[in-house]
Each structure stands twice: as structure tokens, then as C-alpha cells.
Symmetry: C2
Subunit: 397 residues, 2 copies
């Protein structure tokens, strides 16, 4: 019987990987502190730290104030012990980075590339870009420790494949990981764009808000759920898909084939389409924002109303999940005054009193960079789990 | 920086409480197996097991097949090392039990008591009932290890108080725990009725389905969310409240003060009300089920339509959470053919393809007993966390 007690326990660290996490998060800075926090014998701590130092993951960074005798040396996480390849692939716009083990970009670039060129063309281009960026900063491919990739469509996370993506022609069930796994000796993680944005925002958030929902309002609409401090992906990696929740009983056909979906009413593409019908020049969400910034009344009204519709769906989500933070990102979030006003208006009216007691609704601070930071964070989280570290150290020994 | 890696790690057990969990869940049955699974030294395992045996939580239950030499003794979790008091308080109907440490009832009773009599009357009655049940099975109050209580309204779990409950007159912010904490030397946990039902179903489920939603369709409508194997309560303990999600734009006022809530349309009270308007004799959900069982067409149609409305809200929830199991309980679930047909019809139509790939929608197997088992399970999970066990053993030593 597996039960909650086991799953919710706070583990008392007792492995090299656990010690690494204590150092990485600043909860213990010396061998002595590690001994106190873990209750491990001095000799055990010393032995394990030696292994982490040998593996290059921990470095001695100077002396700490002594409590008598020789000053203990301060231990630091060596964020430069390898590099991470990170990509946030959008429909037409991508951001690529090589980062250190704290998800800090060492080099970063953006590019316009149409995801509909298909997996062979896009992945080939991405491999070339990674190689070029590594070359720019003088780090060899052998230093790559992990690869994180976000794509603009539903992903079966366990298999790392897009499943019936509405805007990624040719990507359905394509084994994205393979090409990268062949080129680099490192794990490859693939997830959808909104999940990596949520991970990116959560990575930099301080202090952490453990029940947190990230909502992307771009061409389409989606969300990433951090629940109890963990990204909730669901049984098939499909969690967070609020774009195809029914938001009206009106007859508005969505690209997914269903009727009245939120995205078909309040997504950037839908808004642009409606403004074009009114004779305005708007090809996508960014044009809508530009019109709002210029003070266009139709565009302003449209974004405010989109906010209300999104607010309706988020009100249900607040009742269901009771998060303490909803963060709005994506192109439309740039029209934040209008969009957030509409969202707040409906959420605070429609959600239950208890569930909105401590609720904050805010705009994404990382904006366009959330995805690429999250892609790196996803890879780092994977390679630095205590278990992964232990296995890596066992390989060295 | 606290991150996912730390939170999602599977801890390698290294404390008495961890050893207890290995024994309790059958993952290790002998001192030798415990050593293998944990990597702990033989002497360390022996010492910790001695402490658990002294505390009465572990017993030697006989010999295991030997691999040579003296046969190792099999270790068992002693489910009789204390008792749990469990109560599932409903609006008018309650179920009370004294159980062992596996949430198996040693004695169990049901009673009709109106929750609106208020906290003093109901809690006084519950204390008397617990005493009487303990007396019946000859266990003294000193053997009570934990107390779990479910109530029919929103609960701030951390504080153990009902918050603005719509049907519990006088209970708002009443310190429910206090009276029990004064009488028994054991922790008291209070949660809403639907969360304890979800916990009860999850406790007996084998194999466990880790992304699982329990939906109660009774007088009102609510849900309990097991996500990643953990009950998700949200920032204020308000998670799972689907009864007050907007399900229609029609002008139907809900008892919560809002308009068009699911509960005001598809809950047992709402259905009974509408059937009374048609001249039928229905005071609540159970009467509606009785009418359906007798083949009444109006009642059958009403339940089917209620299923569709619930299905609409669940379709959004499936898109959002991507669970692999939705379990329907509560009085209306007795009309399962009609209710589930309506629910399935809409969920499979309205949810995205990926999110319904592995989705099962089924009726609660525990039925009326889910709550009381879950109330016991909640208390057991709390008192048998490794940390709680360690603290208890430290108290003994």
C-alpha cells in the first residue's frame, strides 16, 4: 500500500545527491553543517563530498568563520561543471540557449523559424544552432549534461513526442529525442511550451509559491500547473490544456474540431481575426497588442472582453485547484492593463470566497525568456536528482 | 532554490519510520531485506527494528524460508498497536468508526444527526459516541493514536476549521479540533467530506491510480483530487470545489449567492426541487434515485441531464488535470446508469483526445463507507509519517 504519508514526507538526506542539493540550495555550506542537517557521521560526509568534488560538482570556495581551530572550508555548487542545451520552439519564433547548471544562459539567441517546416528541417537547424552556440563560447559537445526542449503543442512527456499537435505539421509522434541523443551523450527532455514557461518562472521565483498556475495567452491559450511545488503533467502529459475548455455555447468552431473553445474566442489568433473583419491590420496577437498600445478602441474592447472570457475559465480553475498565484504570460500579456482587468473582474466575482482569500493574479516577470530558462531548468532538475547523481558517481567510481 | 528535483525524488529510507513503511507496505519483510533495500548496516537495521518492536509497531510474525543457517524472522506491521477514531459527518447522516492502524473498522455505526444542531451539540454527541464505541470493543481512550473527522463543508485544513460552510449553521471558524484534543492525547485532523472520500478510495485502491479525481454527487457537488499520489488541498484547503463552477448562463441562483452554479442545477437538492415542481414526491437525492429505480421518466430524464451538466464541468477538469480515473460517488451515483451515461457522453465529446486516451469513469466501490475509511486513513497517514514515528520513538528513548 503506497500512501500519502510516504509521498509527502520530507526526506532526511543521506546520499551524495542529497548532500549536493543541500549545497546547491544554500541550506548547508560546510561539511560540519552537512553533518548537522543530515545527522551523518563526519567521516561519511567527508567521503561523499570528496566524490562530489572529484566529479566536479562541488568546489571549495574559501574559508568560513571558524568556531575555533582551523576554519572550515565553504562548499559551493559548481554551476560550471557542464552545460545545458535549451530551446523554446514557438510556432514561428524560437529562443535557444546554452546555460550553466543554474539555468543561467551563457549564450542565447532568437530566430524566426516556422515550426511547420517539419521535424527534420527544424531539428536539423536546432542541432546546427546548438553546435554554433557551443562553439561561440568554446565549450565542447562532451560537456553537455542535459538537453531541454519546449514545443508549441501537446506532448506525451514520458515518450517525448508531440501528439496530434494542431499547429506542428508533420510532428505527430515524431521521436524528437533521438536526433539529440545521437549527437550528445546526455538525457533529452521534451515538453510543451507552457509547461517549460511555468518551470522557468518557478525556477527564478523567490520565495517559491507552491500552488501556482502559469497561463499563456498567445496565438493559442494554455496553462502549466505547479501543484505542491511539482509540475503536474497528468496521466498523458496533457494537463493544463485550458484552451479547449468550452467558454461559450455560441457556434464558434475551434481548430481542434470542437465548438466554443476558449482559444477560439480569446486567443491572439481569434482576436486578430475579428479585428481584421473590422478592417484593422492585425495578423496575430502582437498586432493586437500594438493596436491596444495605440489606443484603438475596438482592440482595447476586444482584449478586455478576452480577459473576461479567460477569467471565466480561470474562475473554475481557481475553484478546482485553489492556487495562490496565477501568472499571465504570452504575447497578449503585454496588453496587461486591459487583459488583467478583465481576468480579475470575473475571477474575483465567480470564484468562491475561500479560494480567492490569498490569490494573486500577476504578469509573468520573465516574459519571453521564461520558456528557455524553464527548458534548461527541466533538464537540470532531471540530471541533478539525488538518484541521478548517485548513479553518475557510481559510474565514476 | 527549492526545485522539482528535490521534491520529486524517491527518498532512500534511512530512519526507523522509513523502515516501518517498508514493512507496512510489504516491500521488505525481514531484517535482511531491509538491509538490502536501504543499504543500511546490519547492526543499524537491528537497532532500529528493536526500537519499533519496543514501541509495539512491529511484531515478529514467524520464520521466513532460510537461505542457510537460522531462519530469519518475518517482520509484520502491528496494525493493532493503537486505535483510530474516525467520523464522516454528513448533513443529516453520519458514520462513525473505531479502526485499527490499517483503517479497518473494529466497530462502526451510523446515525441520523442534523449538522445544523451546531458544533457544541454535534461534537458532544460525537465524543459520547466515540467513548461508547471504544467501550464496546474494550479499548481504553489511552490507546487512541489519531482522530480523523470529515464535515460537509469547506475546511481550512491547516487550522481544522469550517469556513463559511453553506449548510453547517454555527460552525464557521469553530475550533473543531479542541474538544477532541482535550479528551484524547492524539492528533486531530479535520477535512471536508469529499476529500476524505477520495482518501478512502485511494487507500483501498490496488493498484493505485496516482492521478485520480473523486466526484461526490449528493445534495451538493464536490470533488477530491489525488494528484501524483497526494491529496491536493490547495492554498486554503478549498481545492476540488466544482459545485460552484458556472455551468449555465441561465438565471439560476445558488445557495452560495452566485448564479448558474453546477450544484444549483445538477445537485440532489436541485433535482428533487425540480421534480417536486412536477408534482413528484422527492425531498432529496435519495428520493430522486428511488424514482429512477421505479422507472419514473421525469426523474430518469433529470438525472441523465444532470449527468451531462456534470460532464461539462468534468470535461474542463479533464483538460486541466488529465486524470486517468474519475470516480463518481454520493447518493446520485446510485442511479449510475443514467448519471454515468450523461457524464461519459459529454466528457468524451468535450475533452481533448490526448487527455481521454487512458481515462476511466467509474462508480465508487466503497460507496457509503469511503468517508469513514478515508477519515481513518488521513489520521494514519499523519501519525505514521517517518518524521512522526521518529519523534514518537525519540520520546520513548
Amino acid at each position: 500500500m503506497v500512501n500519502n504519508a510516504e509521498r509527502t514526507q520530507t526526506p532526511e538526506p543521506d546520499r551524495p545527491g542529497d548532500l549536493l542539493n543541500l549545497i546547491r540550495t544554500g541550506r548547508a555550506r560546510t561539511r560540519g553543517e552537512l553533518g548537522e542537517v543530515t545527522g551523518l557521521a563526519r567521516s561519511t560526509v567527508a567521503q561523499r563530498i570528496d566524490a562530489l568534488i572529484e566529479a566536479g560538482l562541488v568546489v571549495e570556495v574559501g574559508g568560513a568563520p571558524s568556531t575555533g581551530g582551523r576554519p572550515p572550508s565553504l562548499l559551493g555548487f559548481n554551476a560550471e561543471a557542464g552545460v545545458i542545451l535549451a530551446a523554446d520552439l514557438g510556432a514561428t519564433h524560437s529562443r535557444i540557449a546554452v546555460s550553466n547548471l543554474l539555468a543561467e544562459s551563457l549564450v542565447e539567441t532568437t530566430a524566426e523559424i516556422d515550426i511547420n517546416k517539419g521535424p527534420d528541417a527544424v531539428i536539423g537547424w536546432l542541432l546546427d544552432t546548438f553546435d554554433r552556440l557551443l562553439d561561440e563560447i568554446g565549450r565542447p559537445p562532451s560537456e553537455v549534461r542535459g538537453i531541454g526542449i519546449g514545443v508549441p503543442g501537446p506532448v506525451d512527456f514520458a515518450r517525448g513526442m508531440a501528439v496530434n499537435p494542431p499547429i506542428m505539421a508533420g510532428w505527430h509522434m515524431h521521436p524528437i529525442k533521438d536526433a539529440f541523443a545521437q549527437r550528445y551523450d546526455a538525457p533529452v527532455l521534451v515538453d510543451n511550451d507552457v509547461n517549460i514557461m511555468a518551470l522557468g518562472e518557478y525556477w527564478v521565483m523567490e520565495p517559491k509559491v507552491d500552488d501556482f498556475v502559469f497561463v499563456k495567452v498567445g496565438t493559442g491559450i494554455g496553462s502549466g500547473l505547479i501543484l505542491g511545488g511539482v509540475l503536474h503533467r497528468g496521466a498523458n502529459g496533457a494537463a493544463g490544456d485550458i484552451g479547449h475548455v468550452r467558454a461559450t455555447s455560441e457556434d464558434v468552431v475551434c481548430r481542434c474540431g470542437n465548438n466554443g473553445c476558449l482559444e477560439a474566442l480569446a486567443g491572439g489568433a481569434a482576436l486578430a481575426g475579428r479585428l481584421r473583419e473590422s478592417g484593422l491590420d492585425a495578423m496575430g496577437g502582437r498586432d493586437v497588442v500594438r493596436l491596444v498600445e495605440r489606443g484603438d478602441e475596438d482592440a482595447t474592447r476586444a482584449v478586455r472582453q478576452a480577459g473576461r472570457l479567460i477569467g471565466q475559465v480561470l474562475a473554475s480553475m481557481v475553484n478546482l485547484l485553489n492556487p495562490s498565484l496565477i501568472m499571465i504570460g504570452g504575447d497578449l500579456a503585454r496588453a496587461e492593463q486591459q487583459l488583467l482587468a478583465g481576468i480579475r473582474e470575473v475571477v474575483y466575482q465567480r470564484s468562491t470566497t475561500l479560494s480567492t482569500t490569498d490569490l494573486t493574479i500577476a504578469v509573468s516577470p520573465l516574459r519571453d525568456r521564461a520558456g528557455v530558462i524553464g527548458a534548461a531548468a527541466m533538464a537540470i532538475d532531471h540530471i541533478l536528482t539525488p538518484r541521478a547523481i548517485d548513479e553518475a558517481l557510481a559510474g565514476i567510481a
